[in-house]
């Protein structure tokens, strides 16, 4: 006999999970990137996905946004298995998502205003006045209403990322995905982006997935975090839990040490032997 209360709590926990990655395997040209990745992203929370460079963090985002398909395993977004969806269904899922690219990925032939207006013009028939109000409100939220008429080439890196953020939230997405949002930013821009991510989450209730290797920045905003290494999730929990972990690979990453299971050197033969061989030539 099943316990109705327990069943109810399981189902509400399932509703709570917006993105579920289950035992995902993925390889490029026979080289495995993922060998059984498992993780969950819960509604209304900021989930950080961390890991050393080259561990496939961006690849994981491509799986979640259905740009690529897993070789094995399942990626579920809003309860839908992405592997089973057709083109138009994938677009329907994507309409509920926003993504902030590392370089902003603004459309270079459109002004800042038109960039933010782009998804609205493509997906709705909003009257021009309403559209202007909406776009200006989003630009105001990222502090760039005054830059509405600039072209993307006239923006600094931090500004471009904020415009891209305004564009990502203009359709009021349920999930917002950030790909390395802190890379190459000066301390002020970094602080601004950090605050905006938190704000989007608390004020608009947007579920956020932040992929980054900036441990300290993430620790200040993330609710949950996962650490990827060697194609697997090696640790999960709050950033504080990860920081206190005594597992060597987690400890090495969180403290930024060159010594540990993650090697600094790319695999190579003996250095002295190679030098001697050169001398003998």
């Amino acid at each position: 006999m099943t316990n109705p209360e327990a069943a109810q709590s399981t189902s509400s926990a399932a509703d709570d999970v917006v993105v579920a990655v289950r035992d995902v395997h993925y390889a490029v040209d026979g080289r495995p990137i993922f060998a059984g990745v498992d993780l969950r992203v819960r509604r209304g929370r900021i989930t950080a996905i961390m890991g050393p460079s080259g561990t496939g963090k961006t690849t994981l985002l491509k799986l979640i946004t259905a740009q690529i398909q897993a070789d094995r395993g399942q990626v579920q977004v809003f309860g839908k298995d992405l592997g089973r969806l057709g083109g138009s269904e994938i677009y329907a899922v994507r309409k509920r998502m926003g993504m902030l690219f590392q370089n902003g990925a603004l459309l270079t032939d459109l002004s800042v205003f038109e960039n933010v207006a782009f998804p609205v013009r493509e997906h709705t028939d909003l009257p021009e006045t309403l559209l202007r109000m909406l776009v200006l409100a989003k630009l105001q939220a990222v502090g760039l209403r005054g830059a509405a008429d600039l072209m993307p080439s006239e923006l600094s890196g931090g500004m471009a990322r904020r415009v891209a953020l305004a564009r990502a939230i203009v359709m009021d997405p349920e999930i917002l995905i950030y790909d390395e949002p802190f890379v190459g930013l000066d301390p002020i821009s970094l602080g601004v982006i950090l605050r905006l991510i938190k704000q989007m989450n608390t004020a608009l209730g947007i579920t956020s997935i932040v992929v980054s290797h900036d441990v300290h920045e993430l620790a200040t905003i993330a609710d949950d975090s996962y650490l990827l290494s060697d194609g697997r999730v090696v640790a999960g929990g709050s950033p504080q839990e990860l920081a206190q972990s005594d597992r060597p690979e987690v400890h090495q990453f969180m403290t930024g040490s060159a010594e540990g299971p993650v090697r600094f050197h790319y695999p190579a033969g003996d250095y002295t032997a190679q030098l001697l061989a050169l001398e003998e030539r």
């Binding site: 994507r94 926003g98 370089n103 459309l107 270079t108 782009f118 493509e122 997906h123």
Partner: protein, 254 residues
Amino acid sequence: MSNGKHGAFLLEGVRKFGSSAIFLFQLLLQCIPALGRPRLVVAQIYNAGARSLIIIMLAGLFVGMVLGLQGFTLLQRFGSEEALGSAAAIGLLKELGPVMTALLFAGRAGTALTSEIGLMRATDQLVAMEIMAVDPLRYVAAPRFIGGVVAMPLLAAIFNLVGLFGAQLVGVQLMGVDKGAFWSQMQGSVELHDVNEGIVKSLVFGVACSLIAVNEGYHAAPTAAGVGLATTRTVVASSVLTLLLDYVLTAAFL
């Protein structure tokens, strides 16, 4: 080359042809909704067409002038300089106009299309569109393809017009061919059939060159070297295909 290499080369060729055919099919499907966005299409006709005008007119003028000079010296040997008008007109309408325009188009507009789309790919703009649930084939590729296909015959017509003016300039004004004979011979010998051949050729070249340019850009490796390589391939493939198709079409029209 060993048999294995021959086989791999052949397979690669077939694969490339097949993927281009699939891409053309997907592109044509997206052209229907893209036609509903006249603003985007007009902008691309302007990009591929109006922006190529100067090079097309300059080339047309010089090709016409050379045609006038060569035609005159050749026809003079047979004492039939008056036929220069019809020789120049038929040469331009059937061959030189469409072919030269296509070659210049590949160099001017084709490369611009490939590098623009390739850079959009390299800077994640195409992926960003996909994530925003906007099909880049419909928004980026289809309007540029239509723009190229519409621009090519118009550019060829302008090339012919300026070319005839150049031939007339040298033949009549410089070499002294009778003006009346020049134009009346042309009027008498050029038939609608000749004009149609030129139009069909430039339409076919328009489809081929635009498809190659858009396809190469869309599938360029997202790096500086990748975009450069794709741009080179656009020029080479467009030029070779134009000349090959020219032979096929000329044979078909005989």
